[in-house]
């Protein structure tokens, strides 16, 4: 599904922050991307959701070399990936319902066909009463759940979550992890970037440990 080969990344003329990353993400797999705080876990995540091109090396996504893709083809590939951003990236002038429904709107689905599904998911993540609320009035945990709901609503083949439980209490963190596990069982590959060891201990999964710009894989 995803293949990194000798991938390197530097920002501008700065030093290389990622060096010789080589790993694969298989279909239906579950992995944590971890490392100490400040290790740069967000950088490989940005490469994975095509927000950045690598400085060197090869990345293939769903069988496509991303260096050869057109902008439109990249947009089509991104539709197969769900992303939970560390800073949520909810659109402030749109309601929680609209934020979650946005990926379906972008692919041109009619509202009649997705409304029930969006409402059901919002209720499942505990935001049934907050559908009309705008993000600025949501708490950190509510924003987190809305961001997760938006990432999974289109049933992506690959889900990337950057510190998805960073702003929620342990019981909700457990519930969200269960959501990811359920999604994984239904066929979605999951990559969770986290430094929360307690969270990783709750589920036995492959770990990609980022240390000094290199990745060490622990199966």
């Amino acid at each position: 599904m995803v293949r990194f080969e000798n991938v390197g990344l530097r920002y501008g003329l700065g030093p290389e922050v990622l060096r010789d990353l080589s790993f694969r993400i298989e279909p239906h797999s579950f992995q944590f991307l971890t490392g100490p705080s400040g290790a740069g876990k967000t950088s490989p995540m940005r490469l994975l959701f095509l927000a950045l091109p690598p400085t060197r090396g090869l990345i293939t996504l769903f069988g496509h070399d991303i260096a050869t893709l057109s902008k439109d083809a990249m947009a089509t590939l991104r539709r197969r990936i769900g992303v939970v951003f560390q800073d949520f990236r909810l659109i402030d002038h749109m309601t929680t319902y609209e934020n979650v429904a946005l990926p379906l709107r972008v692919v041109g689905q009619e509202e009649e066909n997705f409304r029930d599904e969006v409402i059901e998911l919002l209720q499942w993540v505990g935001l049934g009463e907050r559908m009309w609320a705008l993000p600025p009035v949501l708490s950190g945990g509510e924003k987190q759940r809305a961001a997760i709901a938006r990432a999974v609503i289109a049933r992506p083949q690959l889900l990337l979550a950057d510190e998805p439980t960073g702003n929620v209490d342990p019981s909700l963190a457990q519930r969200l992890l269960r959501l990811f596990v359920e999604l994984n069982k239904s066929g979605t590959s999951i990559v969770i970037a986290t430094h929360d060891i307690a969270l990783m201990d709750q589920y036995d999964a492959r770990r990609l440990v980022l240390h000094e710009g290199r990745i060490h894989v622990y199966e």
Partner: protein
């Protein structure tokens, strides 16, 4: 539901189904009022130019057809020839010529009236070698051969010459063409200024909505999807500005037409009427202004789309 970013919460709708109604590009993030004002001013100026061009072309065409229906015979006093006899012979030649409806010889008094503005009153023409004129009116629908008439005149009255006003008509034509080209140039400048204003406004809107654009990108929106939303918003602003500017121009033309009709009896009104006819831009003029509103709104939408596409290309 409120699309204003300042609103902190949408109206609660207990029991109602949620709906996706908020525009992706919020109104408040575009310098809408300023842009509407710019587009309105540009449309107003373009409409005034179009109206002026229509008016000048119509007036020039009226003058041309008026002038083209007449030619002038000029008889110069030469040596010891009898000027009066020469004038009446030249008039006879013209009267007998096919296609001529009427020949009117200007008397000495009328000739002195014509020269009054330059030489003053109390002029005694006998003391000056002033040529005499005869105005030849062409019959309706006829196209006399002026070259043959001129030849005939010089054969029978050597001191007579024919002026068919060709150079004046040509001058009128050139003026009409110049007015039209000038109007086109002003319209082009207005369009360029509109495109530049919209480009800056769109860039500003994209910068303000950068987070929205990034999120849309990352959830798989194609550039065309994002550009369409900006284009829709700017088309609305363009139509609004165009309608205000064009509407004001139409009202102004209507008002001037009304006033010129009401003041037709006055001296100023008569002079105005002589110059510009009825001072009406006619159906064609009003239609041209309406088309201009649509053109400027369309240009606004396309300029924003182009700017969004170009900005998005450099985004990643």
């Amino acid at each position: 539901m409120n699309d204003d970013i300042d609103a902190v919460t949408a109206a609660p709708q207990p029991g109602a189904m949620p709906q996706f109604v908020t525009p992706i590009v919020p109104k408040s993030t575009i310098a809408g009022r300023a842009l509407v004002a710019i587009v309105a001013i540009m449309t107003f100026l373009a409409s005034l130019t179009t109206g002026a061009v229509v008016l000048v072309r119509a007036a020039a065409s009226d003058w041309q057809s008026e002038v083209a229906r007449e030619v002038t015979i000029q008889v110069r006093p030469v040596g010891n020839r009898n000027l009066e006899a020469d004038v009446s012979r030249a008039a006879d030649v013209a009267r007998r010529f096919p296609g001529v409806a009427e020949v009117r010889v200007y008397s000495k008094e009328e000739s002195s009236h014509l020269l009054e503005p330059w030489l003053g009153t109390g002029l005694v023409l006998d003391e000056l070698p002033v040529p005499r004129l005869a105005v030849v009116r062409i019959a309706s629908g006829a196209a006399p051969e002026f070259d043959r008439l001129a030849k005939l005149l010089t054969e029978q009255v050597p001191s007579a010459s024919l002026d068919d006003h060709r150079s004046f008509v040509e001058h009128m034509r050139s003026m009409g063409r110049a007015a039209f080209l000038g109007g086109l140039a002003v319209l082009a400048l207005v369009l360029v200024a509109t495109v530049l204003s919209v480009t800056f406004a769109t860039r500003g809107a994209i910068a303000t909505n950068r987070t929205v654009v990034e999120v849309l990108h990352l959830i798989g929106a194609k550039n065309t999807f994002i550009a369409e939303h900006f284009q829709r918003r700017f088309l609305g602003l363009g139509l609004q500005g165009g309608a205000i500017g064009g509407g004001c121009a139409l009202v102004l033309f209507g008002l001037v037409e009304f006033l010129s009709r009401n003041f037709l009896g006055s001296a100023a009104g008569e002079q105005f009427g002589a110059l510009f006819g009825s001072f009406s831009i006619g159906i064609f003029g009003y239609l041209a202004v309406a088309l201009q509103i649509a053109l400027i709104a369309g240009v606004t939408a396309l300029a924003s789309r182009r700017t969004v596409n170009r900005t998005l290309e450099s985004f990643e």
